[in-house]
Amino acid sequence: MKPKVCGLMNIGRIMRPIDKWIVQHVQMSDAETVALVGPSDHRNVYKELVDMEWLSVNMYDYDPQRACNDIVTADVVFDIELKEDLIINFACEKMWPLGNIYKGREFILVGDNEHHNGDCNPINNNKDLIKQNELTEVWSFNQIKRWGNTKHFMVYGCN
């Protein structure tokens, strides 16, 4: 069936570089609880993480069209308070920096420089992510080419 909204595709267990990078870093973390924010078409990451028996994993997405049993339909900036030890944000370019709200947590932060008209917070480099989320320690970072001249920027650290 053709998906009615973007972000509902399931491409099985084929891991894209960005997903692989995230999963590798979660394995390095001491976190017992993980929040996946705005996973869109990165649901493979969820599938990988729920297989890790020591982890409790929750997904959050504000789009009611993406609602399903394993996702909490909520805006994590305005509606609810995240409790998880590790917050993985797949859509930093679309929201207020979560590190500005949540302190003493681990973060895996992903953002892009597409400058889409729905982006309030385009991410132009890893420093943007570190600074705006007030990370005090950065353990790893990366950037991955997307289409055109756009890139995903990725940082793992804590505040």
Binding site: K4, V5, C6, G38, D75, V77, M95, W96, C120
Partner: protein, 267 residues
């Protein structure tokens, strides 16, 4: 009461309100996009199509040419100082929300200048408004891709051009408390309302068929039966570089809206 042609501050405006009048209407005019003729014509369209006694006040930075029957409130002092710090491209037209914070009796409404009222709105404005009532863009919600980009943040099916309420203090308070995050996140008022308050069912909307959009309905540019209010918003067409034949009210010469509009007096 006739205006003396000078801009009032909010305190004086509230003090002079006639408590016997239970319908207080507003419009906003700042900058030079629209002339005073838009304000005057809107007022006369309301006189023609609303049989409930009402006041009409223009919140403006320039009272020149606005008729004396229309109240004048100073645009530059309305709302909290902290909101004025944010650039205009962050929750553009946030000034409208400041009206929710004013202690005005009865029913309140604001109407944008790029709106043509061409049917009787007495029933619409005489309702009990449990929630603030906005326009839902029914004309583009039936498309198969209408909600496709919700998650990307580029959808918007709420329009704030014709809004009525009785008590919506909560909406001002919510905005004020969350101002830093909200102004950062949303470029326009409509998008803010859509993503925060339509999504959570906090708003009410006019029923389909009462409000139409001259430029966006399919087919566009025709007069539809039973429609009372037609929108002529074009700013997002320009901003997004959309390839759409769109008109402001004063550009509709030779088409049906122009006759209505120019028949409303300007002085």
């Amino acid at each position: 009461m006739l205006s003396d042609g000078t801009l009032q501050n909010t305190e004086d405006f509230l003090a002079r309100l006639d408590p016997e009048i239970k319908l207080n209407l507003f419009t906003f005019k700042w900058g030079d996009k629209y002339g005073h003729d838009y304000v005057n014509r809107l007022y006369h369209s309301l006189k023609q199509h609303c049989s409930v006694p009402f006041t009409f006040t223009c919140i403006t930075d320039n009272p020149e040419g606005i008729q004396r029957e229309i109240g004048l409130l100073d645009y530059n002092q309305i709302g909290p100082d902290s909101w004025r710090v944010y650039p205009q491209n962050q929750i553009f037209t946030r000034e409208k929300l400041c009206l929710f914070d004013l202690d005005i009796p009865g029913t309140k409404g604001w109407i944008d200048l790029d709106v043509l009222i061409h049917g009787d709105i007495t029933e619409m404005v005489s309702r009990d408004f449990e929630k603030p009532t906005f326009i839902l863009n029914h004309w583009n919600m039936g498309n198969k891709n209408s909600f496709k980009w919700f998650g990307k943040g580029s959808d918007c099916h709420v329009n704030s051009s014709f809004v009525f309420w009785q008590d919506a203090q909560w909406l001002f308070d919510y905005t004020d408390v969350n101002q830093q995050k909200l102004f950062f996140t949303y470029k326009s008022l409509d998008k803010y309302l859509y993503y925060q308050h339509w999504r959570t069912d906090r708003l009410a909307f006019w029923e389909e068929g009462l409000v139409d959009n001259f430029n966006f309905s399919d087919p566009p540019h025709i007069e539809r039966e039973d429609v009372k209010i037609t929108l002529f918003n074009t700013s997002h067409i320009i901003i997004q570089g959309m390839d759409i034949e769109a008109y402001e009210l004063d550009e509709t010469k030779g088409m049906w809206p122009y006759e209505y509009w120019t028949n409303y007096e300007t002085n």
